[in-house]
Every structure is written in C-alpha cells, then in structure tokens.
C-alpha cells in the first residue's frame, strides 16, 4: 500500500480557490441586490432614527444618537448577511445534489470551511464597509480605533459566517434557513443594544442583557468607534472569540461525523 505522497499533497489551494471564486461569482451575479438593498435599508434607518426621531433624542454618552447607532446597524447587517450567505452557500448544493462533488473531492473539511466561510465573510465585510460609507453621508462618524474596528468587523463576519455554515448544514428546507436568524439572532440584536446603550435600561434588565452574547459584540464594535462601551473591551473580545471557537468546534464535529452530509 502506498502512503500519502499523492497530489495535492498538503493543502488543496486550487480547491479552496475554486469554491471561494464560485461563491463570490454567485454574489457578483446579484451584486445589485446584494449591495443596493442594504444601502437603501440603512438610509431608511437614518431617515427614521437619525433625522426624524434622532433629532429629538439626547446624545448617548456624549455621542449624537444618529452616530451612536451606526456600529449597531452595521453589526445587525453583518449578523444577518453572514448567516444568510454562508447558510445558503452550503445549503444550496445540498438541495440540488451537487454536494456530491465537494464530498468526493480531495479537499479537507477545514479547507471546505475556509472556502465557504471565507467567501461569506468577505461579502459581509464589504457590505459592512458599504453601510459605514453610506452612514457617513448622513451623520458625522469618527473611528477612534480603526484597527480594532477592522478586527471586530472581520472576526464577527467570520464567526457569524461559521454559524451560518452550521445552519446551512443543519437545515432540511429553505424555511429552516430563515428560522434561526428570524427567531433568535434578530431579537437578540435588537435587545443587544444595537439602538441603545444597555445603561439606559432598568437595572434588572441590564443584568439580564449580560446573558445576551450579542451585547458584547456590539459593545466592542461601538467602543472601537467612540470609546463608549457597555462592557469592557477585553470581555467583548473574549466573548467574540469564544463564540468563534464554539462554532469552529461544531463544524469540526459535523465533518467528523458527517452529520447531515454523509451516510
């Protein structure tokens, strides 16, 4: 018996690139919907919360309300788009049956995840930046810690893409793809301080909010803009990384057991 010196030897770079390009091409085909929709939605948020309501709101911790909600809005889109892109990316081949080719290819599970999640995260990051630029047309934005801002952006996009990948594998039908984002992620985001500071809540709700993981993500991201945060930056980073590794472990388990992928 021969031992593994066969081609491709260690890392199937062409394979990763093939999936990545495939996924990006899918987004480019629908570039109009992919980018215009969030730009319009964000603009509407600013018309409503920024101009209409925001002008009657007091500044939050020294930040004008319209500017205060920008990080939360970006995060909201980042969550939903990362989950949607990654879950759809892996669910669709399962649905059409073309997954056979991925399963029969000389590509490891880490490479498969890298390609799918990398593509989904790329799209989300671009989207996040587009929203940031759109927002800057409406409200004055300052980013005090640009490197941290990028770090949180990339880490969150990657983590939620991983999460979406898991949902895509778990899903048995299209309605499942909507289920978790609609029922869990969106409520947690709205309750996680996307539009307000946790300190504005009554004390018992503040404590309760600390069990919401999304609070930490939004708080950390907002800190990189304005240095205002509900929890410490270290705590935010730890929670984000923690969620990332939990998702990674679940994906590892999925491929090891073949859960809903292989018989």
């Amino acid at each position: 018996m021969k031992r593994g010196t066969g081609y491709p030897a260690r890392f199937n770079a062409y394979g990763v690139l093939a999936i990545y390009k495939f996924e990006m091409a899918r987004a480019l085909r629908t570039i109009w919907q992919s980018l215009v929709t969030p730009v319009i939605t964000t603009s509407l948020y600013f018309v409503v919360f920024g101009s209409a309501i925001g002008s009657r709101m007091t500044a939050v911790e020294g930040v004008p309300y319209g500017a205060f909600i920008v990080p939360g809005l970006i995060m909201l889109s980042l969550f939903t788009e990362s989950i949607f892109n990654a879950s759809f990316g892996i669910f669709f081949p399962k649905f059409t049956g073309t997954i056979y080719e991925i399963l029969s290819a000389p590509i490891s599970y880490l490479e498969t995840v890298l390609a799918y999640v990398g593509a989904a995260a790329t799209k989300s990051i671009v989207l996040g930046l587009v929203i940031l630029i759109t927002a800057s047309l409406f409200v004055p934005i300052k980013i005090l810690h640009p490197l941290w801002m990028v770090a949180f952006l990339v880490l969150t996009a990657t983590t939620f893409s991983l999460f979406g990948f898991i949902i895509g594998i778990w899903a048995k039908g299209f309605e499942h793809l909507q289920f978790i984002p609609m029922l869990i992620v969106t409520p947690l985001t709205f309750l996680g301080g996307a539009f307000y500071s946790i300190s504005m809540l009554p004390p018992q709700w503040q404590t309760f909010s600390l069990f919401n993981p999304v609070v930490y993500l939004i708080s950390g991201f907002r800190w990189s803009f304005y240095e205002t945060s509900d929890v410490s930056i270290g705590m935010s980073l730890a929670m984000t990384l923690g969620f990332f590794f939990v998702c990674l472990a679940v994906v590892g388990w999925i491929f090891k057991t073949g859960y809903r992928l292989k018989n």
Partner: protein, 306 residues
Amino acid sequence: MTAVLSISNLTKSYASGLQALKGIDLEIRKGEIFALLGPNGAGKTTLINIVCGIVTPTSGKVLADGYDIQRDYRAARSKIGLVPQELATDTFESVWATVTFSRGLFGHAPNAAFCEKVLRDLSLWDKRKDKIVTLSGGMKRRVMIAKALAHEPEILFLDEPTAGVDVELRRDMWNLVLGLRKNGVTIILTTHYIEEAEEMADRVGVINKGELIVVDEKTTLMKKLGKRQLILHLQERMATIPTALAEWPLELKSDGTELVFTFDAQQSESISALLRRLVELGIGFKDLNTRESSLEDIFVSLVHTR
C-alpha cells in the same frame, strides 16, 4: 494485470438497519471496463459512493491506485472521477465555469486547453457560455461527465450513465468511454441496459442484496453460464416427443411446431447425433436456427435463483 482498485471485506449498514453491503471483495484491473450489474437496491450505488468518499463504510478497506481511501483520501480521490446517477448540476453557472470549477476543486492548476478538449469531445464547446439551467437533460448529463473528466482521473465511475439518455448521446458516450480506455483510464459502470454491458465490458460483476454473486470475464461468464438452443421448425405438428428422442433434453414449443434443444458449450457434438436420429425417424423440418443466451438471460437467472 495490477489492481487499480482493491476492495476488501467492505460492509455498510445504514442507521435504518439496512445492510446495504455484506462483505464485498473486488479487484478492478488497471485499464479495464468493468460492468457492475444488479437489480435496484442491490448496493451498486452504495459501493460506488463509498469508494468516492460520499458514504462512510461500516467496515472494510478500499485502496485506489494503492492509496487508502480514508487515510490517504487526498491521493485516492484525486485519481477518481464520478458521474453520479442523479442529475445534479449547478444552475446559474456557465458550462465553462462549472467544468473549470471541478478541475480546481480536485486540486489541479487551470488548463484551458484540456478543459476545451473535454468540452469538444462531449459536443459541449458551443454551449460553454450557456447557463446550465437552460440546457436539456441530455446536455446536463454531458456536463456532469465533463466535470468528472476535468481533473484527468485514472478511475472513472459511471453510475447508470445511459439512464434516460437518447440514442445519439449513448453512442457518443460509448465512443468516449472507449477513447478513455485507450488512454489507460479504468472504467467502472453500472447499467440497467445489460446489452450495453455485454457490448462494452471486459469483466462483469453481479451484485444482489449487498453481495457479489459472481465476478468474471464477460466471455468466460457467458460461456460458463450461457446456454445455447437449437430450434427446429417442424414440417408437421408434433403432439408429444417420441421416446426415441428421450436422451436429448427437448421441448416442444409454438403449439408443437417447434422442437427446441437446449445445450451448453460442452454438449455441442450431440447436435449432429440428434439431427441423424431425426432423419432416421423421418421427422422433417423446414428450417433451423440457433440462439445463445444473452448476458441478460444469465443475469436474470443469477439474480432469481438467489
């Protein structure tokens, strides 16, 4: 001949309790066309899917070109191409994009000239810019074959390649298969059209209820298990077979107008004795013909006697 694929004691039990494969041992020789025959649900697709990495075996071992399909899956899988039974293609991608995708996925550097050749061989070159969703079923089947060939596999699995395919595509496909074989590619195919296996295959394996019943050279199999018949069209109707002919296994057919002598390869010399005896008895016949049992007859008798 060296084995390019070696399967030993392979079993598969599904979570439902179904035992799809019960200890399969099979060696596929390099460069041959091997036909795997069996009724629906016999385990053909399970066997193929295990070798290709889509289904995890319960126990047993598979070596593809010497590489263990589980431990050295990269090396093993890069040798194997698969055209699955179900039509499963991308939708909005172009033919060209999907074929170059497959090549990359299997770890190969882009090679436009090679992909072009594959598409031309399959009469897909004119369609290369078309979205797959716009193609007919037959064209989609061609696309799936092109995808399987894009990474220059040494072992090609064709799972029911001609199911629901028109005559022209079937002919093209067999020409392609013969061309691949000429280049040293080993081909393992399953089919319900046994006459195809009879025409194409070097060796035949029959699988039923998860067990390989027989594996042999096609010609040997047909010689060993095949039957021949001599059919005599009688001048006059015969009510019963005369006792003078009792030493031959004869049957009366077509309302007593045909006398049928069934014999195997070893008994052919008894034909002349039978014919002499008929002349002696004054039994005349207008015409005679012989027929050999087809692979299909052999297949049916094999599967039914179990």
